[in-house]
Symmetry: C4
Subunit: 207 residues, 4 copies
């Protein structure tokens, strides 16, 4: 029990946690492009061969684009949610670390989706990972609202915000399930889901 109590202690500055998180987010979105490999051509000067090869890369372009938007949305909401906290304790540091761990995992399911866009398992896994990431984010959000909220912001929080956040989880899971019937439907869900909370709740809040 003492082990768990220690996590509630500590008053860390948020700036260094933000700096670490920002760097992780930035590296993740930039690594995504590494999956776009230069195609190897038999005839180096052939326009038509290169054109066909680039067209074959379309699923990779699309999965890169979707993941980029999703990670940026997480970054924006992360920015918003950390702004609600008066400081960090060790629980928040570790909730954040586990959240960043699975953010840094995103390039893998993205590459899988881009490489095998017709394989239901690959398409399903993408949605499952994003649902899990959203869950981890909700855990952080809920922890801050319950334990670390700045007193002056407490009253202005939407009491249903956590429940509403589950819309994203459910939507990703619907996409992941749809993958087994139609990968196109799954892609559509993955593109539409980030539109929820593309702007954080309570934009009235002045940062």
């Amino acid at each position: 029990m003492r082990f768990f109590k220690r996590f509630a202690q500590g008053e860390l500055r948020l700036t260094r946690i933000e700096a670490f998180s920002d760097a992780v987010f930035a590296i993740v979105v930039t690594l995504l492009v590494l999956e776009l490999k230069v195609p190897s051509l038999h005839d180096h000067g052939s326009v038509s061969e290169l054109g066909h090869q680039l067209l074959d890369l379309l699923p990779k372009f699309l999965s890169w684009l979707i993941s980029f938007i999703i990670v940026c949305k997480f970054w924006l909401n992360h920015h918003h949610v950390l702004g609600l906290a008066r400081h960090a304790n060790y629980s928040l540091v570790w909730l954040n670390a586990i959240f960043l761990m699975f953010q840094s995992f995103v390039p893998f399911p993205t590459a899988l989706l881009g490489e095998y866009p017709t394989n239901p398992l690959a398409v399903c896994m993408f949605g499952a990972v994003m649902a899990f990431n959203t869950l981890l984010f909700i855990a952080m959000h809920a922890y801050i609202l319950r334990h670390l909220i700045k007193p002056e912001l407490a009253s202005s929080q939407d009491p249903h915000v956590i429940r509403k956040s589950f819309i994203g989880v459910v939507s990703y899971l619907i996409g992941a399930s749809a993958a087994w019937f139609s990968v196109h439907a799954a892609f559509l869900f993955y593109m539409l889901t980030p539109l929820f909370f593309i702007v954080p709740p309570q934009p009235r809040r002045v940062d």
Copy 2:
């Protein structure tokens, strides 16, 4: 309509947006060098074989150099333009995210240019991507000038700055078109274009 109105809300600190952007710029310029792969030699100790292989890498060195300069120029102008804003709102965050998305895309056309410097499509694509990046940057600049400019700086802005910025777009597109006639001409345009706005407009402004 309510969906779009929410983007105009929010007052975010610029520092964390700058930190995120700086990290993306830094990773992009550093990833560029990963395309310079160590050549594989039959005779590990052969000076002449290594010499020839390094000479074959010249187009890659050149495309690395051009892209590095271009991205640094974007960084410098990004620094200048964000300095004009009094704060960020969600529109600016997303304009910035989309701009960074295509900055992080730069290693791909750079690698293509370095690998197939004689392929018109590869050479053309490089210019098209840079033109598009410049357009995205102009969108951010124009948005800040119209909606978020610091009151004290409003009067000192060149009213034609946005129109002048299109010189860069046009110049990249001329290079991209030239690629179909002469790849050397295209390379020349790509090297000269960054000289426009290599120093941001209005250097009188004190940061």
Copy 3:
């Protein structure tokens, strides 16, 4: 002698050292995921083939997870320990640089562990590297406690903290030795060791 004396000089701001360190930590944890390569399938649409290939990646997932937690723990303790110093001198800068050098080395033994989880040498090396990293961290901690501690924090430090830190070194070395008898025992030690000091000592300290 004059050569060594110069290291004790200098009063550097800690912020830029923290920024550099944070970036290194962030890149290290994010690079870890690059070892998770997309498997190549004969039948692109085959769910069972992809499923089996993903299961084969389990040791890589596990070594990624362990290393991520370990590096995050180093980050957190680094944050804590630098917070004890009133400023940095050149000795601390170089102790920090050598510590970061071996942090940035972590992706190599992690990849080795993930690729050859049944090879005693690969499993042993992981523990040996982590023990060495912990030693480098202890050196930094001890140097700060002896030479750079903030006067107001000096009295509140646990006088046995350095001796206690060796528990981590010993535990990693037991894991490294166990690898030669049972790789499963070694994995277990590698997973349990980060639980020591998962929260820095003296959480009473206000940052």
Copy 4:
């Protein structure tokens, strides 16, 4: 002429230039480890095979270590030299950008040195690149001393510091020349040269 005059204009905050530079330095040192590739074994469980393969990696470990120390030394001196400037102008921004360009190039000659440690051209090139990097750094240092030095620090600067800095250039070039007679001698020079200015000049200066 007007083109060049514009570079002397602008008063930019140093913080964002430092943040960009720190990120580039951090990525460069962390990318260096990517050259250490996991060896492929015929017998996955064989200790002796893995042992031999790791021994074959020794030149790569050594070149990684040398480059890491060199880049950290550049980082430390960069930190020192930017601390002398009262602000940045566009000339400094571009001198810094070109310096960072060739810092980000370091992984390439490092990989070459690690892959072909007995090839005189590979060994020579490493020293030549480091000499060039040192020259670029001297250019930045000299520019700051001449145009941007903080008034209160001007009198305390060693008037011969620029001339002394050329020791590093000469030493790297001697190593690069030695490579054609003895690669071991070259390695020795590359290891010893960073010891010059391993602590920035004038450690009396309080940051």
